[in-house]
Symmetry: C2
Subunit: 251 residues, 2 copies
């Protein structure tokens, strides 16, 4: 038997998001306008940018005083000092500041510039990642579930680079209603042997799956419905993906 | 306007692959049996394992003499010495051998154990990655194109871990008929500003997209058709994803 197809469907007509906007309500309105009917086990992949905007995670250049440390890093790399300063404020730790600014964010994500971004931000403004994307996902899911009565899942995604592979891919920075991993432990391979250990990061794969429909530029399709993915449910969150410092071979 | 949906469709009934088997012919037979009609711009994502098998990239334990270096690494980490030995033979360089065996393969991929795998291999055998996955993809595509007259693309995928994120995802190790990246350079963001530089690794995303239908265990669905993805064509290959050593901050 062949598994069912997996589909990714873009939700269009989501308007510009402003602080205090109710993302789940906006999504449900847009789903209706798209002519789509949500179904049990649909996964809604939401670009972090609109979640950040709804949570007022926007900082204006005029509000920022640049520290000595930020100035030094900016000068060395020819970076925007304000961008560096905000990234440092969002970071637990700077991992590498040599041509990049790899940090660990307060919620444990290792990424460039703490995920602080200027693109798709108003002039002079910087968009920060949601403060706690797993919690944001929970909040959005709980309203979606209440309004629809459906068993849905939410993934908050962001586009990030990788240390050994050039280019970026969409990854999951928050989730709710879905486990971070599919665990293959105890399953058998083609030759009937039990697989020792194999955990696929299903929420990262679903985030990647949604990206082609989201786009990086101003496509205004920040929400994609993924349907048909046989995902595992559980309590693992996106923060469980972060490799603890003690297991990180490169720190 | 909403972008078209992206679909991933598993091709079932692909039989066990043996050396010298003609993968493109097997795929076309299986596509017919699945009742699917291939279309222009379909991407066929093919699990590296069947490509390796068709190229006889299988090594038997009995044929391997373990070197001093492999013995040392195996002992330190409680690894299978033969597995280590084969991984070293497939590597340009060992990057880390402390609890892992991160290497750079001869074709430039940084991964664990040079991608040498025991799961889904016959007893006592080890499956190596294809010697040159981009070339394998070209070869498969050229036969598929000739037989179908369609404009198709091929991605050879493998499941790999990541340094800062736990769990594995499917990535592209070879491609043909599709560019490695989508380049957003010159496109505009929501506020009309030109994006400085943003390259999405579309072939990694498509590999991730296909994984849920491939599975890690013995599902026998090593080929997935991805349809509706508006990919860029070009000459960048999967090897162009590998970050050169000089740009690798962690070597």
């Amino acid at each position: 038997m062949s598994p069912k197809p997996v589909n990714a469907i873009a939700i269009h007509s989501i308007p510009d998001v402003n602080p205090e906007d109710n993302i789940p309500e906006m999504i449900l309105d847009a789903v209706r306008e798209t002519g789509l009917e949500l179904m049990d086990r649909d996964v809604l992949v939401i670009a972090s940018k609109i979640v950040s905007k709804s949570e007022d995670r926007i900082v204006h250049a005029s509000a920022i005083e640049v520290s000595k440390q930020a100035e030094k890093i900016a000068e060395k790399n020819n970076f925007d000092p304000i961008h560096v300063e905000i990234a440092l404020r969002e970071a637990n730790e700077v991992i590498n500041s040599d041509g990049v600014l790899i940090t660990e964010t307060h919620f444990g994500l290792v990424c460039n510039f703490s995920g602080v971004d200027k693109s798709n931000a108003p002039e002079g403004a910087y968009i920060l990642l949601p403060e706690n994307p797993d919690r944001s996902a929970e909040r959005i899911l709980s309203i979606l579930s209440e309004k629809t009565g459906l068993q849905l899942a939410v993934i908050i995604s962001d586009t990030q680079g990788r240390p050994w592979r050039k280019g970026s891919v969409n990854i999951a920075i928050g989730c709710a209603g879905i486990n971070a991993y599919k665990h293959n432990k105890g399953r058998r391979d083609l030759y009937g042997r039990i697989l020792q250990r194999s955990s696929v990061c299903q929420i990262d794969e679903i985030a990647s799956l949604a990206e082609p429909l989201m786009g990086q530029a101003g496509e205004r399709t920040p929400v994609v419905v993924v349907r048909g993915y046989e995902y595992s449910k559980g309590n693992e969150k996106a923060t469980d993906i972060n490799r603890p410092k003690s297991e990180d071979l490169f720190r």
